[in-house]
């Protein structure tokens, strides 16, 4: 017997701060002009898997239904193909909105636990911070180590194939001016803290 859940919303359920925040997001300047035509969803190659389609997310977000938005799996499905951004008849940069929602969800720790996204981000950052470049082999390797080995094992054949064809190098790619790069990334960090 399935649990009965209240679906109806009270005005008090709206998070006005969130609604305000989303309209201020880079790329979301025109989010209030959305006419809910669904072009973004229809053109999205991932919407077939989405619990909330991009169109619904946009409306939920501008109305301030934060839980629904940040709890939605859809925001993690965006593959950055920019179809929605290009097709939107109101020129809302939907991809950027999706990015912003991802970032907000990570900040608030509201991401599906099965997703290694924060780990990926961390590993990626470590590697760039340290060497300025990504050695794909190592990144994937570290990533799988830190998430689940099983998946990694499932991929061994691919790994071997890449090794065989010399596409899976463990040799560290690196830049000369690492110190400067470090300074650059720190500057971004601090500027963010100022903003926050």
């Amino acid at each position: 017997m399935t649990a009965i859940k209240q679906m109806m919303k009270y005005e008090a359920d709206r998070d006005k701060e969130f609604a305000h925040w989303v309209t201020g997001v880079v790329g979301a300047e025109k989010i209030r002009q959305c006419i809910q035509c669904g072009m973004c969803s229809a053109t999205c190659p991932l919407s077939i898997y989405m619990d909330y389609t991009p169109r619904r997310l946009i409306h939920l977000a501008r109305e301030g239904f934060k839980q629904e938005v940040l709890g939605s799996f859809a925001i993690w499905l965006c593959a950055s193909c920019y179809s929605c951004t290009v097709e939107c008849p109101k020129q809302i940069k939907v991809t950027d909105v999706m990015y912003a929602l991802k970032r907000r969800a990570i900040q608030e720790g509201a991401y599906p636990k099965r997703l290694p996204i924060p780990v990926l981000a961390r590993e990626f950052y470590k590697m760039v911070r340290g060497h300025g470049r990504i050695t794909e082999g190592r990144l994937v390797f570290n990533l799988f180590l830190k998430t689940n080995l099983l998946k990694m094992l499932g991929m061994t054949r691919l790994g071997l194939g890449l090794l065989r064809t010399g596409r899976f190098s463990f040799f560290k790619e690196s830049i000369k001016h690492r110190k400067e790069l470090g300074a650059l990334l720190d500057a971004v960090k601090s500027s963010k803290e100022v903003a926050a």
Partner: protein, 671 residues
């Protein structure tokens, strides 16, 4: 150096002027942003101001009364009203001033609504700006002089450009009232888009049945000169007296000799039609010698030199000429000719063009053969169309499923921003007709269904009853890429079913694109020829959206139909009637009063330098050899003031815009 001696400020309060000042609240439109109280108090202290009042609605009768009473009661000799744009109410207040017994040109208007309260938010700064403008007007008005309005006679003939339903209705209305109308149409026949339609919404009466009788009435009417296959190339003059050049393109047929027997067409060396015919949007074929369609008006054939052998090689048997031996209507030597006419008023009813569906490649128009535009479908379901009303796909199959895509080239920042207003209803109409003709399953993909007209919502309800599918979502693409067996060989439409909340793929046989309406590609040229204005969208701009919907900013030129913006047939006919009435109002009065803003030349100041003569675009100024001064012919002057600005000695002056008036105004906005 001119004004060194006479400073306007000192002139303006030489005691002679007794100014009445009035500021309008316009409800809260002005009072909501501008401190009208403060403004009135401020004006009261300005030199020459005798009365200073604020009132809720100055344009209302009591408002105008106020002015009239004060003129009498306080012996006012100047009036200044601060309210909306002079383009809206200048006449109103001039009339009030005149009723009060003053010359109407002792009045001046300040625009503190469109130019202040509606565009500024900061109350203090808005009020400050309003004060500056008011001060300017009060300084200016002291220099106003009494003027007489010039009367120009209105030539009783009318030119109507565009022979669609709008032009036809306007022409008949005026012709029946005894006015002589020149109806000029670019195509070989009148009828416009309506002639292409099958049925009309929401009543479903057949377009031809209601249109063609009117078309033949136009042809037969003694008061209508019908020039088809013709274009206006040049317009000069002004309200009441326009001189118009009309280019008549050669049909290679003598219109007056042709009886429309079509013997020549049958006789053409091409036994069967082989060239895409324009009227059927290329869905049908025609011969090089043809009539656009059976009820074409006038029923006169024409020859297309692009495809006629005689024109291409000069070596044709000319069987058509033989067939017309008796009447000798065919003339390969016919040349383009130009007619010159004089008219007093003009109606533009040039209509619209449909959005080019190729601009949205995702919908596959021009890529997949079974994607049609709505207009093409009108021809396909039309009994007199290329398939005699048979709705068949290009491969001859009957469609079992049809997808109608709304808002193609409408409500889209990437193409056209506006709602084309008729697409919802014509899509519903086509849905009904297609179901009726083919029994097909019909899907409408829409963003919003807009049915505000009389009987429209009822029609929508009828379609719902008929079981037509309505999927709320803008279509992303039409593709032949199949995901499932039942999609094989079909066109797949992908859209979000926004009411269900998920994306759907719907396989169909036939896709109909409900293309939007837009201004003609050459609307810009027409606009220039007639010296009127276009809106941002590329439709002709009406003088006022509510109070002057068929007027333009050029006196004597009116608008009717879709050239002013998308509209359906009822609205078009109504507007055409309104435009006709406007013309006749002018014609029957016989004259029009025009702004007395003409220039003149002070003989004693003129040094005879000729500068102004070169300046005048209307050759209104000539040189008097005896007196050695420039002389201005007021009848020819249109009042641009260019000569005044050019005159080095200040001899040239312009009524309503005299130097001292403008200098005083400039100083006023700045002090």
């Amino acid at each position: 150096m001119r004004l060194e001696s006479e400073n306007p400020l000192t002139l303006s309060n030489n005691g002679s002027s007794r100014i009445g000042f009035y500021v309008c609240h316009c409800g809260t439109n002005i009072a909501g942003v501008v401190d009208v109280q403060a403004l009135a108090e401020y004006a009261a202290k300005l030199p020459g101001v005798v009365v200073s009042r604020e009132y809720k609605y100055m344009c209302s009768d009591p408002g105008q009364e106020l002015i009239q009473q004060d003129i009498k009661g306080n012996r006012l000799n100047r009036i200044v009203v601060a309210s909306c744009s002079p383009h809206l109410h200048e006449q109103t207040f001039r009339t009030a001033t005149a009723k009060g017994g003053l010359n109407p040109f002792y009045f001046h208007m300040v625009n503190i609504r469109e130019h202040v309260s509606w565009v500024h938010e900061d109350r203090t700064r808005a009020t400050q700006k309003a004060k500056a403008l008011v001060r300017a007007a009060i300084q200016r008005v002291s220099f106003h002089k009494p003027l007489e309005r010039k009367r120009v006679p209105i030539h009783p003939d009318v030119l109507i450009l565009g022979g669609g339903i709008a032009g036809i209705h306007a022409a008949l209305t005026m012709a029946d009232a005894g006015k002589h109308v020149y109806l000029v149409e670019r195509d070989p026949t009148i009828g416009g888009h309506m002639a292409k339609f099958d049925k009309t919404f929401p009543t479903l009466d057949c377009a031809a049945c209601i249109l063609t009788p009117k078309m033949s009435m136009v042809r037969a009417h003694p008061n209508i000169t019908l020039w088809t296959y013709s274009e206006v190339t040049h317009v000069e003059g002004y309200v009441g007296n326009f001189k118009v050049k009309v280019k008549r393109k050669p049909r290679y047929i003598h219109e007056e000799l042709c009886t429309g027997c079509l013997a020549c067409v049958d006789a053409c060396v091409y036994k069967d039609a082989r060239y895409p015919d324009e009227f059927n949007l290329g869905l049908g074929k025609r011969k090089p010698i043809y009539i656009p369609f059976a009820q074409a008006t006038p029923l006169v054939v024409l020859i297309d030199p692009e495809t006629c052998i005689q024109f291409k090689s000069g070596k044709c048997k000319k069987t058509c000429v033989e067939a017309c031996a008796e009447r000798r209507a065919i003339d390969f030597e016919q040349r383009e000719e130009t007619k010159e006419i004089e008219v007093g008023t003009i109606i533009l009813s040039t209509g619209f063009q449909v959005f080019d569906a190729k601009r949205i490649p995702n919908y596959g128009y021009g890529i997949y053969p079974n994607v049609y535009t709505a207009l093409e479908i009108e021809r396909l379901i039309n009994a007199s169309g290329p398939t005699a009303g048979e709705v068949v796909l290009r491969d001859g199959r009957k469609p079992q499923t049809v997808g109608i895509i709304h808002c193609v080239g409408s409500r889209d920042e990437n193409t056209n921003r506006w709602c084309s207003r008729v697409c919802c209803m014509y899509s519903l109409k086509l849905a009904h007709l297609l179901k009726e003709h083919t029994g097909a399953e019909v899907y409408n993909f829409y963003i919003d269904i807009r049915t505000p007209g009389k009987g429209f919502e009822e029609f929508y309800d009828r379609l719902l009853k008929e079981g037509v599918h309505f999927i709320r979502g803008r279509v992303a693409e039409v593709t032949d890429w199949a995901m499932t067996p039942d999609e094989e060989g079909k066109l797949v439409i992908r859209a979000e079913d926004t009411l269900a909340g998920f994306v759907r793929r719907v396989p169909v046989d036939l896709v109909v694109l409900s293309v939007g309406l837009e201004g003609h590609a050459d609307a810009e040229d027409v606009r220039r020829t007639f010296n009127i204005t276009c809106s941002t969208e590329g439709f002709f701009l009406e003088r006022h959206p509510k109070l002057a919907p068929v007027d333009t900013f050029t006196d004597g030129i009116f608008l009717a139909g879709c050239c002013q913006g998308p509209k359906d047939i009822p609205d078009t006919v109504a507007q055409a009637g309104a435009a006709a009435a406007q013309c006749m109002a002018l014609i029957d009065r016989g004259y029009m009063e025009i702004e007395p803003n003409t220039a003149w030349i002070e003989e004693e100041l003129c040094s005879g330098c000729h500068v102004c003569i070169a300046m005048c675009p209307y050759t209104a100024i000539h040189f008097d050899a005896q007196k050695k001064v420039a002389v201005l012919n007021e009848a020819l002057c249109k009042g641009c003031g260019t000569c005044v600005a050019a005159c080095p000695s200040g001899a040239a002056q312009q009524n309503l815009f005299r130097d001292e008036q403008l200098f005083a105004e400039v100083e006023g906005v700045l002090v």
